[in-house]
């Protein structure tokens, strides 16, 4: 790999006054950046996937309410009619779906079995409602209006559990972004250490260039170019490895046909961000190298 790196840098027209491209350390840096980029690909993809999950659930339950007339009330059927009448009179409600006994039976079938006798068990009545706008004030007023019909009627805006769910997704997204930042910070620390080591290794040659009148920017440029190329190679390898990992993971997760998790088909924005990673890696390596070298050179008279 070292030979291929050297060949790459030479073909790219790179000319080094310092023998930076003739060290086995290049392989180590590429491997390090490859692993960092791989982890960043996974973390960023996870972040996008979680955004997809949050969007799917938020959109799915947006402007939807479920009204429950609990079982055991004296006349659920009569209450159902009365509630339906009340709902019909409200402008903000765009759709009312009074769930049939069969639909309710299908909902409870996983717990009670498919062939149980519905009339033997007291069942609640459920009315699915779609609103034009779900404001807190509207929900409170609806709850108040329906409570006047019967105080046991419950208006469920799904908010309670959805908020918990979205909070958890938000925490996971934050975690994924935090991991990405930790990866970047680790890369910066590692590259700083490596560049300092290379500076020490070539200190007499760096001093010679300095004494010949080479500007700090000229000397830093040598290290910057070196780090940039290694960053590009490591970033490209890491992106490839990450894409491979995602493809394998995607096959596994899509095989389950889960409704909870969306498929790992990435959006255009996500793909664009991932393809930017090698360039971000380049910029990170190059800038870190530049700053490290300039700070070291500042200590020379």
């Amino acid at each position: 790999m070292a030979k291929s790196v050297q060949s790459f840098t030479q073909k790219a027209g790179g000319r080094y006054d310092l023998p930076l491209n003739r060290s086995g350390n290049g392989r180590f840096i590429i491997l390090l950046i490859t692993m960092m980029t791989f982890l960043a690909v996974l973390a960023i993809s996870a972040s996008f996937a979680l955004s997809g999950v949050a969007a799917k659930w938020s959109t799915g339950l947006e402007n939807k309410l479920t009204i429950e007339i609990p079982a055991g009330e004296t006349d659920v059927s009569a209450l159902k009619v009365e509630v339906k009448k009340k709902l019909d009179s409200i402008d903000n409600i765009s759709k009312i779906d009074v769930m049939s006994d069969d639909a309710i039976a299908a909902l409870v079938a996983p717990w009670l079995g498919a062939d149980f006798a519905l009339e033997e068990v007291p069942m609640p009545a459920l009315i699915a409602v779609e609103t034009k706008e779900n404001t807190r004030a509207f929900i409170d007023k609806l709850q108040k209006d329906l409570s006047e019909i019967n105080s046991a009627i419950i208006v469920d805006a799904h908010e309670e559990w959805l908020e918990d769910f979205l909070r958890m997704i938000g925490a996971l997204k934050f975690g994924a972004m935090f991991v990405s930042l930790v990866i970047a910070a680790t890369a910066i620390v590692a590259i700083t250490g490596i560049i300092r080591a290379r500076m020490s290794e070539h200190r007499p040659d760096v001093e010679l260039l300095h004494l010949m009148g080479a500007s700090d920017a000229y000397i830093a440029g040598q290290f910057q170019r070196y780090a940039l190329r290694l960053g590009l190679l490591g970033g490209a390898f890491g992106l490839f490895a990450g894409a491979l990992g995602l493809a394998i993971f995607s096959v596994g997760i899509n095989a389950g046909d889960s409704d909870l998790f969306p498929s790992l088909r990435l959006s255009g924005l996500a793909i664009f961000v991932l393809f930017c990673l090698p360039f971000v890696s380049c910029a990170l390596c190059s800038t870190t190298a530049k700053i490290t070298v300039l700070r070291s050179l500042a200590r020379m008279p």
Binding site: P204, L208, L211, G213, S215, D216
Partner: protein, 232 residues
């Protein structure tokens, strides 16, 4: 051209290795810097090529006071100074050509100009046939000539050579001095640090004599008289 006034230099918290150094070098002059080992020759050379800043005193280079200069201005000033180091300090991974071309590349000289100038200079120092070789494949004398070529390729106003004949036999040393004299005749100001008495006697230039960190300037007529009187 170069003026040192009341210069003192100390490393860390130790005693001053150079004390109250005062001298002035005229444009186009040729001077030897001499003195016993440990007298501070290398330290004085280091001050002259701006490799260190003095602990005290005033240095004026090419008419400009270096105190208060920015880093980039000092860098530009260094580009006017060629240095031949005692241990050559050639970059081992670069060919003879690339070593000599280094000062031009630092100043971002066009590549065509670099090719012409470096080839011409390598021919002049007799290394035209060795330009693609690495320094380690050359003899000591050849490496010395590469170091000189590198020091003069950018046509410096000041050339400093630290013990340039130290590793060479007398014949090559004399040839090297002849080379430096040719450069001097072209207008380059030259300072050669050496303790080779024979060489100094043979070439008869003024001497800057460092003894225990202090400098005395001795004109040629003085050392000739001293020589006659048996001081040296």
């Amino acid at each position: 051209m170069i003026r040192f006034e009341n210069i003192g230099l100390r490393y860390g918290v130790g005693d001053e290795v150079l004390r109250d150094i005062n001298f002035k070098l005229e444009r186009g002059s040729f001077n030897f810097l001499t003195g016993p080992s440990g007298a501070g020759k290398t330290s004085l050379m280091r001050l002259m090529y701006l490799g260190r800043t003095p602990t005290r005193g005033l240095i004026t280079m090419f008419g400009k006071n270096i105190n208060g200069m920015t880093r980039s201005e000092i860098g530009m000033m260094r580009q006017k100074i060629g240095v031949v180091f005692q241990e050559f300090r050639l970059l081992p991974h670069l060919s003879v050509f690339d070593n000599v071309a280094l000062p031009l590349r630092i100043t971002e000289t066009p590549e065509k100009e670099i090719q012409n100038n470096v080839n011409e200079l390598l021919d002049w120092v007799g290394l035209g046939d060795h330009k693609d070789q690495l320094p380690e494949t050359l003899s000591g004398g050849q490496q010395q000539r590469v170091a000189i070529a590198r020091a003069v390729i950018a046509r410096p106003k000041l050339l400093l050579a630290d013990e340039p004949t130290g590793n060479l036999d007398d014949t090559i040393g004399v040839r090297l001095m002849n080379l430096l004299e040719q450069l001097n005749r072209m207008g380059t100001t030259i300072v050669v640090a050496t303790h080779n008495q024979g060489m100094m006697n043979q070439f008869g230039h003024p001497r800057l004599i460092l003894e225990q960190g202090q400098l005395h300037v001795q004109e040629p007529q003085t050392w000739i008289r001293d020589k006659i009187e048996g001081v040296y």
